[in-house]
């Protein structure tokens, strides 16, 4: 072991690899390429992973939207084809019966799923926009970015059915002057004046939704459009650890029992389960990470075997040199150590260069995809994985170095010297 930390040993190894540049470079390229591919693959798949996460970051990842349709089976004296209508009170029932539900809010809309959008007028400007009746709790399920000075709908708005609204960016641009502060301004929606309390930045938080929405309190919506106790759909968020597929089933069966629908009626209620889709995408990303890990490791292995191969050839080529060294007093152990240390050292150097190059390429891809829709964010390779890869390389480098090293000492010095 003392040998390892001896300056002379390393000077000898540097001499040997430094003065055989072509051989060294060719040897290094194999492993360098291997670790490079490994780092790029691992980093890229992590980047995709982060990208997907980011795309979903504004919305609760286990969101479910549930709506009513019409029955397809007769039940309890009702004939088939009966239209169903969700009731506001159903939300409370669902929350009470299904403990996995964290938040639930009924929503009514106009101009989103059919129906004319609301004609909105401000002074001489006018346009039609979809209108949502929202409870404040919506903000907890789908993060709403509200521009400075503004706010989202709050509980007081709801209780007092205030005529306030949160408008989309496009709505602001179309109804207000460029340098005008929309907050506190009034717009006329369906002939009723609403005070603007916030402007929301457009992010895709629901499967629908645009940049030109108008949000008003749910109770105000009820009065405006006379929706009574009806609700168009529920936005539901389950707790993080809940099984979203099961929660969706539970929601549907509770709704069926409330609305007296046949338990096997699949068409009575519809649902969009973001959690399930999210899990599928993350499963895909995880699979990608796994595959890239396997491919990367296999590439490293191929590279190390390449080093072993070249060292084996170089040992043959160096038979005479090794014979001379042994005639001059190198013990078999010293010859073996020389070859193995060369192998390990080359592997390490190649590995480190490969890691640096891989990191460079990753950050290049990152900067190229920065402002695009491509789901690619912050590609990183966890340090343990990098260290693990280096460790694997050192171990493999040693093992593979053993073969040429053993070959080098198996030739008797006298035979080595005789070889011309």
């Amino acid at each position: 072991m003392r040998f390892l930390f001896d300056k002379n040993t390393w000077q000898e190894i540097f001499g040997s690899i430094g003065k055989n540049k072509t051989r060294t470079i060719i040897t290094v390229i194999g492993v360098l390429w291997g670790i490079f591919i490994y780092i790029v693959l691992a980093g890229a798949s992590k980047g995709l992973d982060n990208g997907f996460e980011k795309n979903f970051e504004t919305v609760a990842k286990n969101s479910i939207w549930a709506w009513s349709q019409s029955t397809s089976m007769p039940y309890a004296g009702y004939k088939t084809g009966r239209s169903l209508r969700l009731k506001v009170g159903d939300a409370q029932t669902l929350q009470n019966r299904i403990p996995e539900i964290q938040y639930i809010a009924p929503v009514n809309t106009k101009g989103v799923f059919g129906g004319a959008a609301a004609l909105t007028v401000r002074g001489l400007k006018s346009n039609s926009y979809p209108v949502y009746g929202y409870f404040p709790v919506i903000a907890k399920m789908a993060t709403q970015k509200i521009y400075d000075n503004g706010r989202f709908i709050n509980d007081d708005d709801e209780e007092q059915a205030r005529k306030v609204c949160v408008i989309g960016e496009r709505t602001q641009q179309e109804l207000f002057e460029k340098d005008e502060d929309p907050i506190g301004g009034y717009i006329r929606v369906e002939n009723i004046y609403f005070q603007v309390v916030g402007v929301h930045k457009f992010t895709q938080t629901t499967p629908f939704g645009t940049d030109g929405d108008i949000y008003i309190p749910f109770t105000t919506f009820k009065k405006l459009y006379n929706t009574g106790d009806g609700a168009q759909y529920f936005t539901i968020a389950a707790f993080d650890d809940a099984d979203v597929v099961q929660v969706e089933k539970d929601i549907k069966s509770v709704l069926k029992s409330i609305h007296r629908v046949h338990p096997d009626d699949e068409r009575a209620f519809g649902a969009f389960n973001l959690g399930e889709i999210f899990n599928k995408i993350m499963g895909f990303a995880n699979g990608l990470t796994f595959v890239s890990l396997i491919v990367g490791l296999a590439t490293i292995l191929a590279g190390v075997i390449g080093i072993g191969n070249i060292l084996l050839i170089s040992v043959k080529e160096r038979t005479k040199e090794l014979g001379i060294r042994r005639a001059l007093g190198a013990t078999p152990k010293e010859v073996r150590t020389l070859i193995i240390l060369e192998s390990v050292f080359l592997t390490m150097i190649a590995g480190i260069i490969g890691i640096i190059m891989g990191a460079g390429v990753l950050s290049l891809i990152n900067s190229l995809t920065q402002d695009t829709d491509f789901p690619y964010t912050n590609p990183t390779v966890p340090i343990p994985l990098v260290i693990g890869a280096l460790l694997v390389m050192v171990v493999l480098g040693t093992l593979i170095g053993l073969i040429p090293a053993q070959r080098a000492v198996s030739i008797k010095p006298i035979d080595a010297l005789r070889e011309e």
């Binding site: 040997s16 003065k19 060294r325 001059l328 007093g329 013990t331 010297l417």
Partner: protein, 233 residues
């Protein structure tokens, strides 16, 4: 310095054995310059390899400076070679990617001598063979005679008990051969024991004693009047 008694060596060639050395008895005193002569196949190189611990005898005794050389493993042989022996080969056997100085310093590396000390000592011996100015040249940049002088410096740098030269002039023209022999004679005059294997009569006569080998036995062992190589240069 060297005592050899009843040395036998045979090589297996397929089914039959080739008996190369058939009982050699041979002594070399301190400071001698001995030529071992013989035609090819006479066993002279085998004898030198056994003395050089590159090969082992089947039978017989070999004592080097009072140390019985037997039951050698590779590691022990390597240490003995490093400490006791210096080799000079026909084909020089310099390491081609190392400079003259590094080649000379190599035996000292295996004695674990620090680099600086190693280079100083190597430079001293390079100076002794007259190649101080060529210390940083690669073997490919040196002439045959210069290469052999580097090899001689390398053989001497560890201050071995015996120098073993195997056909050291075999690859050189006669003028260069005499120059190299002149160097060998000078080194011998300093008190070093040297064994030279050769089949060239004129080279043999530049030594102080000639041992004739034929078919694995010594047929003649005589002291000769040394011809000074300098006279031919």
């Amino acid at each position: 310095m060297i005592e050899i008694k009843n040395l036998h060596k045979s090589y297996k060639m397929g089914s039959n054995a080739l008996h190369v050395l058939k009982g050699i008895d041979f002594n070399v005193d301190d400071g001698e310059l001995v030529a071992i002569m013989g035609s090819s196949g006479s066993g002279k190189s085998t004898l030198l390899n056994i003395i050089g611990m590159l090969d082992v005898a089947d039978e017989g005794e070999y004592i080097l400076d009072g140390i019985p050389i037997k039951n050698l493993n590779e590691t022990k042989a390597a240490n003995y070679r490093n400490k006791f022996l210096g080799f000079i080969f026909q084909s020089f056997n310099l390491i081609n990617y190392k400079t003259a100085l590094e080649n000379v310093a190599l035996p000292l590396y295996y004695q674990r001598m620090p680099r600086k000390q190693r280079q100083e000592k190597a430079m001293k011996y390079l100076d002794q063979v007259g190649l101080k100015e060529w210390s940083h040249h690669l073997p490919s940049e040196l002439s045959g005679g210069q290469k052999q002088r580097v090899a001689i410096a390398r053989a001497m740098v560890a201050e071995p008990k015996v120098l073993l030269a195997d056909e050291l002039t075999g690859a050189l023209d006669s003028t260069t051969s005499y120059e190299v022999m002149d160097l060998i004679q000078k080194i011998n005059d300093l008190g070093n024991t040297i064994l030279v294997v050769t089949h060239e009569v004129d080279i043999a006569h530049m030594c102080k004693r000639i041992v004739y080998l034929k078919d694995g036995v010594i047929i003649k062992d005589e002291k000769v009047k040394q011809v000074k190589a300098l006279a031919h240069v």
